[in-house]
């Protein structure tokens, strides 16, 4: 093994990238024109574009989740926020006299996004102000939020007929899907703000040790509050995309289990659930992998009922590949005692590789 390959293997995105390339290769074998992209009616068409379009909402949710996890938290409520924002936006639009009026749609979108920030802020309040464990604090909104979403839609699937609204999920701009552009803009801005300023480092510091960060003069509480509000906003935008794409809001099914996919994307991307370091681009890669996996299932002709099984296997393989203990075990050494592993983890946290 050459030194360069060894160095590449150390890169956090190495294993996820290998998996993505492997999945794309499998797809190309089964469907020869898989990677081709063509221009039709001024729009880009092709499986890669489909994958990106399908990934956009998940990537958004997962990026919000990444920041929450970076501070050592978790946000289980994103699926409910997706459902609530979609439901609220559709409800407001359905009450418009002219569902195609751009102004009315913009107001509905704005109201829904403000609500999503408030919902995220509620989580932030519970975690940062009242010190409630993140998994429980956000479980409240996860359970109650589904009920609230159904309350908004009155238990029905709310269908609307609004062209401007549908554009958010299914429209094109400059030949590219609008949802991908929106997601790229939000994620790009997030990365720029986090890595061009000290904010990203501060988040890692809070995730590494909130109390020490506070003593060092970092407003740990405010940062925690802010990441939950941001996660709510990301879920809100994703909720609009999802409901706009199908021109309806389903309080029961919209965004169901998206929190699990999002957490999965974060973990695949190399962000540890214990917090203290994060990789936004890795998360995006993770989201793309998950959606590529979904599409692979169809391309290869795996029956849809085996899809979950396939997903489980990929998750297990990826997690094991990323586990230091497993790699040590594979190279015929005994797994290190938990104590040593813990100490190592702390070192890694202190190192905070981006």
């Amino acid at each position: 093994m050459t030194a360069r390959l060894a160095a590449a293997r150390q890169h956090p995105l190495f294993w996820p990238a290998v998996v993505l390339v492997a999945l794309l290769a499998v797809n190309t074998v089964y469907s020869h024109g898989f990677l081709s992209i063509e221009l039709r009616d001024g729009h880009l068409y092709g499986s890669p574009v489909d994958i990106l379009r399908a990934s956009a909402p998940l990537a958004l949710v997962a990026v919000g989740m990444t920041l929450v996890i970076a501070t050592g938290g978790i946000d289980l409520s994103v699926g409910s926020v997706v459902a609530i924002t979609g439901a609220l936006a559709c409800l407001r639009i359905s009450k418009l006299d002219d569902q195609n009026s751009v102004g009315g749609v913009l107001v509905a979108v704005a109201v829904a996004l403000v609500l999503s920030v408030i919902l995220g802020g509620w989580n932030g309040l519970l975690v940062a102000r009242f010190g409630i464990q993140p998994i429980i604090g956000t479980l409240i909104l996860m359970v109650a939020g589904r009920g609230i979403a159904q309350l908004i839609t009155d238990g029905q699937v709310l269908t609307i007929n609004s062209d401007p609204y549908q554009k958010i999920g299914a429209g094109y701009w400059l030949g590219l899907p609008l949802s991908v552009l929106i997601a790229a803009a939000v994620i790009g801005a997030t990365i720029a703000v986090l890595r061009r300023s000290a904010l990203g480092m501060l988040l890692e510091s809070v995730g590494g040790n909130a109390e020490a960060s506070r003593l060092a003069g970092i407003k740990a509480r405010w940062l925690k509050f802010a990441v939950y509000a941001f996660s709510g906003l990301c879920a809100g935008i994703a909720g609009l995309m999802i409901s706009a794409n199908v021109r309806s809001a389903d309080g029961n099914q919209a965004g169901l289990l998206i929190e699990l996919d999002a957490i999965l994307a974060v973990v695949i991307g190399g962000t540890a659930l214990i917090g203290g370091r994060f990789a936004v681009l890795g998360t995006v890669l993770g989201a793309v992998i998950i959606k590529t996996l979904d599409i692979t299932v169809y391309t290869v002709g795996i029956p849809p009922e085996v899809k979950l099984l396939f997903k489980a296997l990929v998750v297990i393989v990826l997690c094991l590949a990323q586990s230091a203990a497993f790699r040590a075990w594979i190279s015929r050494r005994r797994p290190r005692p938990a104590r040593v592993a813990e100490l190592d983890k702390d070192d890694e946290k202190a190192g905070a590789l981006a």
């Binding site: 009242f130 409630i132 589904r146 159904q150 998750v315």
Partner: protein, 345 residues
């Protein structure tokens, strides 16, 4: 555990005007211990809910209403007991709902193929133990987050259920239908076999947690893993063991659900992991581990079941109010736990 059955007697609730000094020594025995407060709060809540049900709805006072809550939630109770072990060690098991569904599927499929119930029953329970042990081993040996490992387990189980069949499979085996229809009668009331099984599981679990070396290790592990390791406790065996128990409880819960539904289906028990976690939390077990009781979990399941019964009796409330109420209850309980925790520190 006897104090659990006493009404809550926090000092603030005592009638005013009684001079506390001479009573103090006697009262100190009545004042609940710190660790019992969350359970007692759940008990109080349960009694208030039950009382308001009796006051507002005709026929609510019938003991059978309460027994029906047990009958309708016996499988959840068993699953939640397994979840209690896992959460006491500071872990979490997201796979339980899917494991329940897979169990109903395997049971239905094997019975349809003509396997004798005497083989099917132990086989699925053994599978549950093996599945849980496998997840526990991955979590402990390879240092993988319980959240992620059990999430993969959840995908695996749901996936396997759909591989067996995408449709619901009816169960027509005579043993299964007999057990399902069996009513255990006493004094004009009746419960199902599942309730008896669930009661046995609860008692065994409570005994194991309170009086065995394994049980004490579970609490020690949840309190502080490093300390438990340094104390020489069998950390690995305990950690893998709780997931094995949770796997067993999920399989048993699946068997009970197959009695209840008389069918196997990959979409059974959707979201049951959340109900189980909610029941454990409402029952006063702390999610970071180390503190909580099985009887608290029983009360948690009862509270969840009672919410649904109340909504059914009310009649004009839509089903989604259940979720909103459960969310509100979770909130109330967590705030209470924080308040209690702060008072000691």
């Amino acid at each position: 555990m006897t104090t659990v059955h006493e009404p809550p007697t926090e000092p603030s609730q005592l009638p005013g005007g009684v001079s506390p000094a001479p009573l103090r020594s006697r009262l100190s025995r009545l004042v609940p211990r710190q660790r019992h407060v969350p359970v007692l709060a759940t008990l109080a809540l349960f009694l208030v809910m039950y009382g308001s049900g009796i006051a507002n709805y005709e026929g609510f006072s019938d003991t059978q209403v309460l027994l029906n809550v047990f009958i309708d939630n016996a499988f959840l109770l068993v699953v939640a007991v397994g979840m209690t072990f896992v959460i006491l060690t500071g872990g979490i098991d997201l796979s339980v709902g899917a494991a329940v569904a897979l169990t109903t599927m395997i049971v239905a499929e094997l019975l349809q193929k003509g396997w004798p119930p005497a083989v099917v029953l132990p086989a699925v329970l053994l599978l549950g133990v093996l599945f849980g042990t496998g997840m526990g081993a991955i979590i402990h040996l390879f240092d993988i987050e319980p959240f992620i490992a059990t999430l993969a387990g959840m995908f695996l189980c749901r996936g396997l259920s759909y591989v067996i069949a995408t449709e619901s499979i009816p169960i027509t085996d005579s043993f299964w239908t007999n057990v399902a229809n069996q009513k255990i009668k006493f004094g004009g009331f009746h419960v199902s076999v599942s309730v008896v099984v669930a009661a046995v599981v609860v008692l065994v679990a409570a005994y194991v947690l309170a009086y065995t070396r394994f049980g004490r290790s579970v609490y020690a592990l949840g309190g502080n893993r490093q300390s438990a390791l340094l104390m020489g406790l069998a950390v690995g065996r305990t950690r893998i063991g709780v997931y094995a128990i949770s796997g067993f409880c999920s399989a048993l819960g699946g068997v009970l659900l197959s009695f209840y539904m008389l069918s196997g289906y990959g979409q059974h028990a959707q979201g049951m992991e959340l109900d189980a976690i909610a029941a454990v939390v409402i029952g006063g077990t702390v999610l970071t581990g180390g503190s909580g009781f099985v009887f608290g979990t029983v009360l948690g399941v009862l509270v969840l079941g009672l919410i649904q019964t109340l909504i059914t009796f009310q009649g004009n409330l839509s089903s989604w109010w259940t979720k909103i109420f459960i969310g509100a209850l979770l909130f109330a309980f967590i705030v209470l736990q924080r308040a209690v925790g702060r008072r000691t520190s």
